[in-house]
Amino acid sequence: MAESYLIRGASLADGTTSDILLDGGIIAEVGTGLSAAGARVVDADGLIALPGLVDLHTHLREPGYEQSETILTGTRAAAAGGFTAVFAMANTAPVADTAGVVEQELALGDAAGYATVQPIGAVTVGLQGERLAELGAMARSRANVRVFSDDGFCVSDALLMRRALEYVKAFDGVIAQHAQDPRLTQGAQMNEGALSGELGLAGWPAVAEEAIIARDVLLAEHVGSRLHICHVSTAGSVDVIRWAKARGIQVTAEVTPHHLLLTEDLISGYDARFKVNPPLRRREDVEAVRAALADGTIDIVATDHAPHPSESKECEWDAAANGMVGLESALSVVHASVVENGLLDWTDVSRVLSQTPARIGRIRGHGEAIAVGAAPEIVLYDPSASRSWGTADLAGRSVNSPYLGRTLPGRVVATFHHGYATVLDGAVLETAEIAAAAREARA
Amino acid sequence: MARTVLNHSDISRALTRISHEILESNRGSADLVILGIPTRGTVLARRIAEIIQRIEPDAPVQLAGSLDVTMYRDDLSRTRTRTPSPTDVPVGIDGKTVVLVDDVLFSGRTIRAAFDALNDLGRARAVRLAVLVDRGHRDFPIRADFVGKNLPSATSERINVHLSEIDGAEFVSIEGGEE
């Protein structure tokens, strides 16, 4: 008999206060003064209840790079950050370019039980950018893949990109493009501008992102397909996407928490924790992506959670790996960058971190508004908390967070997935306990 | 609380006496080189040379110079970084009698370093030492040949030498002590 939970006195995104009863695999009741009979009570006084967060862009590293992260450790990090579903990027080893690999990832996610793991399929075989992967087979597999991406690499061949966009229409898929012209970014180390010239680091020009987005929105228009742009980082990209949307092109876009908060000047000390691709940009770019998220030009926030072992970051800048972990801190960073200044309210936050990513990724059972009969995927967040980030706040295998030592607002107090708790009182629950709860929920 | 121990005329008299003693012990000014240790030693060396040239008009024109010992010190990482001063030796020192001049003789470390510095410049026939103040407390078996004033002091006390060329005033004071 699965445990039922009564969340007592939570603030909903619209500002009302309510009790929420999770029972029988759904949200059974929403209202005030609900009976706690038989249910475990969670005091949510002062906490905001949001639908469980959905990350459209996570690197879980398994199979192949288990020293950085596994599906188990990555979904623990997800739960700690209030996520109940993560889309796992395809750049594993082997690459997720066949039905076999994506089904394996799905099964490992289900067994771990911390969050739904929805595999993303590679666009091209081995991410090589040469031949299309078996997109249809992955779509028809048990993993039900709808998002395809060569993330880490750009599908730079225009013809291949056109074909991929066209082909996935057959099963309502979407191509998520990592927009980076490879020739314009050869050896690139940081945003190209005044600072790169001073630091003597090879530049990653904004135009290398913007030119690919411009090309791809026109391709998507031409073939009538859905296009998603990963990690938009420049003001120019925002302008191109805004133009494309006004034209009616089916394009969606994401921004990462770090591109909402951090700027390139952090690189002055060559601390590789701040090395990421696309790179941290100028203050003007941060302002532009914040405004774009507020006005809907950018649809969602996605973490681009990219774990790396310490030796990949404790080294000289050129030799360091790109990427930052971001699942645990995402909600706090969104809070700090666009909620505290009033650009977004909590309803917007649930849209950009739950409803819209679930819709873009065509995933069921996630991103539903908190209401009777909805999937029991919920996060409770304490907006009045504040903490200085340390490695103890990270729940995955890697600690390459750019926020260590920085104070961020808020704290995830509890996460519920499939009706059971994965996080309670701010602590991630034990692996065995969660695996058992997941088995029971499936039964 | 600083107490003046030598005033302007005390210093002037001391230097005149030292100059006479140098001439006497060297039996004149032949083959004499007077090298001050920066910063105040250099000033004192120049003054002594002027006095000697007044007493003996045929004394060498290039009598005084400056010997920087910074790069020869043994306390490199025990004190703040010292900026070296130029070394300016007017003539070769081989076979000469070199009189080293410093303002205060204390532990003897500076003089020890000066011996090394001198050694790298050539082979002097003899080396003598002149100081304005000898305050005792030596760490090395070094003594001065010509002393302006013996000033027994506690190690916690500070001796301050002021010379008009550098400090705009001319006196020697002692301060501190009671801790």
């Binding site: 010239g197 001073e198 000390g269 800048w317 | 790069m71 490199l76 990482s77 070296p84």
Partner: protein, 315 residues
């Protein structure tokens, strides 16, 4: 001085102090006994992840003339160049007891990473990092200019009002970057001349004027012209069409050299591509300071090592 990582961090007073000490060191180089006992018992490690015989020899000579023990660690070609991390190497050097590490590295910022890492307590001296900085080269260039212009009255002086034109691959040049910051700190006016492809895209923060035309720059009669070495690989990446075109537009050929004032100084950090960025007549003329630059390099590096290894830790 705890570390010497870039000229950008140097104040005018610090830079002049270093150049003045280098004058003292240069005086010592004229004596019969060229060695000083200053750094006796100290260990200086030359850690070169990139080949550079010239710079390495210069640092070795500087350290030895100050009586330091010198350990040269040529990382290039050994296990260190690929695979073994900077961290492991640094910890090894710490275990050996290095007091100062002179590091040449292909990655911009590597000396700063080493200095800030906590892997090693030694003072770090940047001997050239990627396309970032090469502070001792700029210091020896400034020293050379100061001596040429002020002679024996150099001590205590800057380079106020001196007009220096730097020509060539600014984008990839650590020598140019270090010179831009240092020369302007010392009061010089710096003019950069290069093909647009070999200039950083945004120079708004640099205290320089910029032009594309070397003839205009020569006609402005600078006090010094510093020619940078051009890497021929650059033409394969479309920075310029070929060496002939580069040389015609941006080389100091005989004709341009003849138009310089007779007391204009011709500088080059070496090694030179004769006939490409500089003609032999210009390089070998009395106006050329190329060999002085090499000799002054030892004095400047002695001064830098002295400042790095004297004083209490953390000063």
């Amino acid at each position: 001085m705890r570390h010497l990582l870039s000229t950008r961090d140097l104040s005018r007073d610090e830079a002049i102090e270093l150049l003045d000490i280098a004058e003292d060191m240069a005086d010592v180089q004229l004596r019969e006994v060229k060695k000083l006992p200053t750094l006796r018992g100290r260990t200086v490690v030359n850690l070169f992840f990139e080949d550079s015989t010239r710079t390495k020899v210069s640092f070795e000579a500087a350290a030895k003339r100050l009586s330091a023990d010198v350990i040269s660690f040529s990382a290039k070609g050994s296990s260190v160049s690929k695979g073994e991390s900077l961290k492991d190497t640094a910890q090894t050097l710490a275990a050996i007891g290095a007091d100062a590490v002179v590091i040449r590295h292909g990655s911009s910022g590597a000396p700063l990473v080493l200095a800030q890492s906590g892997w090693i307590d030694a003072g770090v001296l940047n001997a050239g990092d990627g396309t970032h900085e090469h502070p001792t080269q700029a210091l020896l260039d400034a020293f050379t200019l100061r001596r040429r212009i002020h002679g024996s009255a150099s001590r205590g002086r800057g380079l106020d009002g001196v007009r220096v034109t730097i020509v060539g691959d600014i984008l990839h040049s650590r020598v140019a970057r270090s010179n831009v910051w240092l020369l302007s700190t010392l009061g010089a006016e710096v003019n950069l001349v290069a093909p647009p492809t070999l200039l950083p895209v945004d120079l708004a923060n640099w205290p320089v004027s910029v032009g594309y035309d070397l003839d205009d720059a020569i006609d402005a009669q600078p006090d010094a012209v510093m020619m940078l070495r051009i890497q021929l690989e650059r033409m394969h990446a479309a920075f310029f069409p070929n060496s002939r075109e580069y040389s015609r537009a941006w080389g100091l050929d005989d004709e341009r050299f003849a138009r310089l004032r007779a007391d204009s100084i011709v500088m080059h950090p070496g090694p030179m591509n004769r006939g490409l960025e500089i003609s032999s007549r210009a390089a070998d003329s009395p106006q050329s300071s190329v060999l002085e630059q090499v000799a002054n390099g030892v004095s400047v590096r002695m001064a830098a090592l002295y400042l790095l290894l004297s004083g209490e830790k953390g000063e």
